[in-house]
Symmetry: C2
Subunit: 598 residues, 2 copies
C-alpha cells in the first residue's frame, strides 16, 4: 500500500519564497484578508483531510465501480469520504459567496487539488470536474440557471460533468450529432449518446448536472453550430430542489486501464429537458471555460503522479538493501547497501523529484495568472494574464503529463520486479497516470493548439511576454554568484526558443502540415525551457534562504542539488527536441508517399 | 480485441535480404539441409499456429491465473493451446536429436519465439523459460540428469523454470539463503523460499523441472558460494517417468500489472530432492547460460510489444476519421480524414515500426552469433561470436525493452481515449510490456553489465570488433548513392561511441561510481547507434531489391522511408544520451551530499 504525505513544506516554499502570494492576494479586490496565516492553515487542513480520508482509499479505488441496470456503485468508502469532503466545506473554497461559496481565490483551489489528486486521482475527479461545471454556469449561465443549480453544486451536494465526446467524435467536435429541440416553455429537449463521461453516473450525490454540447436543428455545420446546455439528471425547480428523473440514463461504464474508482459512462439522452446556456451556436466558446480549467487541472495531475511515485520509490530505495556501492560499502554493517547509493537509482529518483517540484512551481505560476484574469480590476493586467494562460495551458498540459508518465514509470523501475506487483501501488499510479496524456485533448492536440493556434496564430505575440520575462530574469542574474550558471544556460535556451519558432514559422508558411510535424517536439522543448525557468526561480529562493542562515538547511540544499540535476541531466533533452522540431515534415510524410500509408 | 498478423514477409526480408541465413546454415555442421524453402515453410507454419491458436487467447490471458490450495489454474483455453503446441512439435525445434528434438538451429527458435510472444506474451513465457532450462541441463548437467529430464522437457510434456530470486535478494544473488544439504544417496535436499518464479506452478503439464540456485553448508559467502540444482516438482526415475510429489509447493501467486496468464509463484522448498548440476559453488556461472538466453528473449519482447502495438494502432489510424489535414482535406468524400494523415500520428506510428523492424534485424544479428557460438567448428569464430553475444545481450535487453515500452505507450496514444479502454487491447500490451525492463535484470543492471563488466572490464576489447564492423560498412558505402548519407551519419556516431567510451573510462578510473552515473545513457546511446547500423543494412537491402525491379515495390519503399525516419527522428536521441553519459557523477551525488539522501 503506497503512502502519501502532502508536501506542505514545499507548497509553502512555492507560495512564500519562490513567489509572493501574500502580496498577490493583497493586490486583488476582496482578498485582503487572505493572509499567509490563513492560507497556511487551509493547506495544513487540506493535507490532514487528504492524508487521513482520501489516500487510504487509493487501492480500494482500483477495484472499480460497478454498473447494474443503469446504476453505478462507487468503490467501498467513497460515499463516506465524499460526505466528509462536503461536511468540511472543501468543495466551496473558491465558490462565489452569493451562492454559498467561501469566496477564496481560485489559485488556492488549483493548488489544493494537487493533494487530493495525488492521494487518490480517481476520487478527485468527481469534485474537480464538478468545479469546472460550476465555473461554466457561473460565467455563461443566466440568473435562473445560477439560482437553480449553483448552490447545491458549490456545496458539493450535487456534482457536475462535461459531456462532449460521442462515438464518432472526440477531438473533432465538429462531427457532433447530439440534437437539441426547442420547446414551447423555453427549455430544450436533448437527444443523443455521449461517451467517456467521467462521473456521468454515481451514487455519491442526489443529483448530477451535465454540461452538454448539442446541435440545434437549424445550426450551421461543423464546430460553429454547437450549443451548450445544462441537463440535470433529476429535474430541478426554480428554488433548486431536485424532483423527477430527467430522460438521461447511463447505458454502461467503461473497463479501463486505470482511474477505476471514477465511473466513465455512456450517457443516453432521450429527449432530456435542457437549458440553453448563453447564445445558440456559441457552445464551443463557452465550453472552453470548462476545457481550459480541466486542462490546467490535468497538467497538475502530472505533478501528482510524479509526487506519489517519488515519495514511494524514495522510501523503497532508502530501505531496500541490494549490492554494494561501486565506490565501496556505504553501510558496511548491513548485508548490502540501500539502493539509493547507486547513481542510476538516484537519477531515477531525482527525475521524479524535479518533475514534481518544478511542475508545482509552474502550476503556481499559472495559478497567479488565473487569479489576475478572474479578479483584477486592471483590464490590461487581466488581458495579459489571459494571454499567459492561453499560452501556458496547452504547453503545461502536454509537457507535465508526459513527464508525469515518465516519472510514474521510473517509480516502478526503482522497485525492480516489485514495481510490477499490485500491492506496492506504483503500477496503479502509472495506470492512473496513463489517461493524463489522452483526455482533455491528447498531447498531439495540445501541441497543435500551442504551436498552431497560440504561437503561429498570434504571430508570436502570445509567446513574447513570457520569453521576455525569462530574458529579464537572465539579465538580472547573469552576474549573481551561483545563479549565473543557471542564468547563462537558461538564456541560451530562451534565445533558441525564438529561433526555433521563427524556423518552424517559415516552414509552415510553405506547408501548414509543418506545424503538425513540429508540434510535439516544439512543445516539449518549450516545456523543458519553462521548467528550467521555474528551477532557476527555485534556486534563487533557496539561495536567498540559505544566505539568511535559515534553520531548514537540508531542505534548501536538496533544492539546489535538484536544480543542478535538472539543468545538467534533464534540460539537455531540449536539445534533441529542438533538432527534431526543426527536422521538417519530409521524414514523416515524403512527397512520394500516400498520406494514408507510411 | 487486438489483431495479430505474424510479419512473415519481414522475417523473410531479414533472413534472406538483410542477412544471408542460407549461406550461414550451410557453413555450420549438421545444418546443410536447412534450406530457405525449409525455413520459410517453418516460419509460415509458425505464423499460422500463433495467429490461429495463441493470439485469440490474448484477452483471456489478462483474466489471470487462479490459485487455490497450492494449485494454479491457467486461463481458459491455455491447456488446449498448450497441447496443440506440443502436438505440433514446436517445443522441440532446436532440441538435440538424441533427446527427441528436431535438431534445427537455435537462431530459428529465437526468431520464431517472436511470433508467440507477440501473439500472447503471457502464454509464451511457459515454453520460452522451459527452453532455457533445457539448454542449461544440456550444457551443464551430467548424463543421468539429461536422461532423466531432457526428453520430456524437449517434447514439451514437462516445462522448466528458473529459480533465482528470494525475498531479500533479486539483483544481488550473493544474499541468497536457500540451503542444499548433501544426502547419502548422492542427491541433495533443498530448503528455502523462492519468489517471482514464472510458471513455478501450472496445470499445463504433469511435471515441472525447477533450476534452482542454493548454498551448500560449507560454501563461501556471497556469489561465489552458490550452486545449481535440478529440482523436479514430481520425482523422476532414471527412465524419465514422473512419480511421487517432491517437497516443493506453491505458496501463492502474485497479483501483477500484466502478463497475468503467466503464474508468478512463491515456491517453498522444504527438503526437496535435488540434483547438483556440475561442480559445487559454480552455480552462478552455469546459470548465466539460462540468464543470457532469457535476456536475449526479453530483448526480443521489446520487438514484440512494438509490433503488436504498431499493427493495431496503424489499423486504427487508417480507420478513425477525425479532423482535416492542415494542408487540406485528404478524404473530401468523408466527414473527416483518417488520422494517419496527421504528421504527429505518423511520427508515433513510424516510431513503433522502426523499433519493431529495426529490433528484429538486431535480434537476427544476435541469432547468427548464437548459432556460430553453439555449432561452429572454428574455435576462433566461436570465441568471436561469444564475445559479440556478451557485448550485445545486455545492450539489446536494455535498449530494445525500453524502446518496446515507448512503442507500446505510443500505440495507446494513437488511439486517444480509446487507448485507455481495455477492449482495444493496447493498454494490456503496455501492461504486459512493463515487466520487460524489470525482469531478467533491470535496465540499470544491464547497463552496469554492459558498460562496467563488458566494456570497461575488457578494456574496450569486446566493443572494438563491433565498432570496427560498423566502420567497415561506413567506409564501403560512403560513396554509394543514396546510402552515403546513412554511412556518413553512422560513421559520426560510431566515432563518438569510442570517444564517449574513452571519456567515461577516464572518469571511472578516478571513481568507479562514474560507471553507474554513465551506464544508462551510455547504453541507450549504444543502442541507438547499433539500431542505426541495422537500419543502414536494411536500407542497403531494400535499395538492392528496388534496383532489381522487384515486384514488391511498396514494401521496399516503406522500408526506405522508415530508415530515413529512424535517422532523422530517432537517432538524434543519441545526442542527448551522449551528453548525459559524459555529464559525470557530480549531478547525481554531490560531494556534500550523504549517499543515503538526495
Amino acid at each position: 500500500m503506497p503512502v502519501y504525505k502532502a508536501p506542505v513544506r514545499d507548497h509553502q516554499f512555492v507560495r512564500s519564497e519562490v513567489f509572493d502570494f501574500s502580496t498577490h492576494y493583497q493586490s486583488l479586490p476582496g482578498f485582503e484578508e487572505v493572509t499567509p496565516d490563513l492560507t497556511d492553515a487551509i493547506i495544513e487542513e487540506l493535507a490532514n483531510f487528504n492524508e487521513g480520508m482520501i489516500a487510504p482509499l487509493f487501492q480500494t479505488s482500483d477495484k472499480g465501480c460497478h454498473f447494474n441496470n443503469g446504476e453505478v456503485t462507487t468503490p467501498t468508502g467513497y460515499k463516506e469520504a465524499y460526505q466528509a469532503f462536503i461536511d468540511a466545506g472543501w468543495p466551496s473554497i473558491d465558490g462565489p459567496a452569493e451562492y454559498g461559496g467561501q469566496g477564496l481565490p481560485g489559485s488556492l483551489n488549483l493548488l489544493s487539488n494537487e493533494f487530493m489528486a495525488s492521494a487518490n486521482m480517481a476520487f478527485s475527479m468527481y469534485p474537480i470536474l464538478s468545479h469546472g461545471a460550476v465555473k461554466t454556469i457561473f460565467k455563461h449561465g443566466n440568473d435562473d440557471q445560477k439560482n437553480r443549480f449553483l448552490k447545491k453544486m458549490i456545496s458539493g451536494e450535487w456534482t457536475g460533468t462535461m459531456c462532449l465526446t460521442e462515438p464518432q467524435c472526440g477531438t473533432d467536435l465538429g462531427l457532433l450529432k447530439t440534437k437539441a429541440i426547442h420547446q414551447p416553455d423555453g427549455t430544450y429537449k436533448v437527444t443523443g449518446t455521449k461517451i467517456f463521461i467521467s462521473g456521468g453516473e454515481q451514487d455519491l450525490t442526489e443529483n448530477i448536472v451535465h454540461i452538454v454540447l448539442a446541435r440545434l436543428p437549424d445550426a450551421p455545420q461543423g464546430s460553429k453550430g454547437i450549443s451548450l446546455f445544462v441537463v440535470p439528471k433529476r429535474l430541478v425547480n426554480e428554488d433548486g430542489v431536485a424532483g423527477e428523473p430527467n430522460a438521461v440514463s447511463c447505458g454502461s461504464i467503461e473497463h479501463k486501464m486505470g482511474i477505476n474508482g471514477c465511473a466513465t459512462c455512456v450517457l443516453n439522452f432521450d429527449g432530456a429537458v435542457a437549458y440553453l446556456v448563453g447564445e445558440p451556436n456559441r457552445g464551443l466558446n463557452y465550453m472552453f471555460t470548462f476545457m481550459n480549467e480541466a486542462r490546467l487541472n490535468t497538467a497538475m495531475q502530472g505533478v501528482c503522479h510524479a509526487e506519489l511515485s517519488y515519495q514511494n520509490s524514495l522510501a523503497y530505495a532508502q530501505d531496500r538493501l541490494q549490492m554494494r556501492s561501486l565506490s565501496g560499502a556505504k553501510s558496511p554493517d548491513k548485508p548490502a547497501d540501500p539502493i539509493i547509493v547507486h547513481p542510476d537509482v538516484r537519477r531515477m529518483l531525482l527525475t521524479q523529484k524535479a518533475v514534481a517540484e518544478g511542475g508545482r512551481i509552474l502550476g503556481a505560476y499559472a495559478s497567479l495568472q488565473l487569479d489576475i484574469s478572474a479578479y483584477s480590476e486592471d483590464e490590461l493586467a487581466r488581458k495579459a494574464a489571459n494571454d499567459a494562460l492561453a499560452l501556458l495551458t496547452p504547453m503545461a498540459k502536454a509537457f507535465l503529463t508526459e513527464l508525469g508518465l515518465v516519472s510514474a514509470s521510473l517509480g516502478i523501475q526503482c522497485l525492480g520486479g516489485h514495481g510490477f506487483i499490485k500491492e506496492w501501488g506504483l503500477e496503479q499510479n502509472y495506470r492512473d497516470a496513463r489517461i493524463s496524456t489522452l483526455y482533455e485533448g491528447t498531447t498531439g492536440i495540445q501541441s497543435l493548439d500551442f504551436l498552431g493556434r497560440k504561437i503561429m496564430g498570434s504571430g508570436g505575440k502570445l509567446l513574447k511576454p513570457f520569453t521576455k520575462e525569462i530574458h529579464k530574469f537572465c539579465e538580472e542574474h547573469i552576474d549573481v554568484q551561483d545563479l549565473n550558471k543557471y542564468a547563462a544556460t537558461l538564456n541560451d535556451y530562451n534565445v533558441r526558443w525564438s529561433e526555433i519558432t521563427a524556423h518552424v514559422g517559415s516552414l509552415a508558411v510553405q506547408n501548414p502540415d509543418e506545424i503538425g510535424a513540429a508540434g510535439y517536439d516544439y512543445t516539449m522543448f518549450s516545456g523543458y525551457v519553462s521548467l528550467a525557468y521555474m528551477w532557476a526561480l527555485a534556486a534563487k529562493a533557496a539561495q536567498k534562504a540559505q544566505s539568511q542562515d535559515n534553520e531548514d538547511k537540508e531542505f534548501y540544499e536538496t533544492k539546489l542539488r535538484t536544480a543542478k540535476f535538472y539543468y545538467e541531466r534533464m534540460l539537455p533533452q531540449a536539445d534533441t527536441h529542438a533538432k527534431l522540431a526543426m527536422s521538417g515534415l519530409d521524414n514523416l510524410l515524403q512527397p512520394d508517399c500516400s498520406p494514408f500509408e507510411l
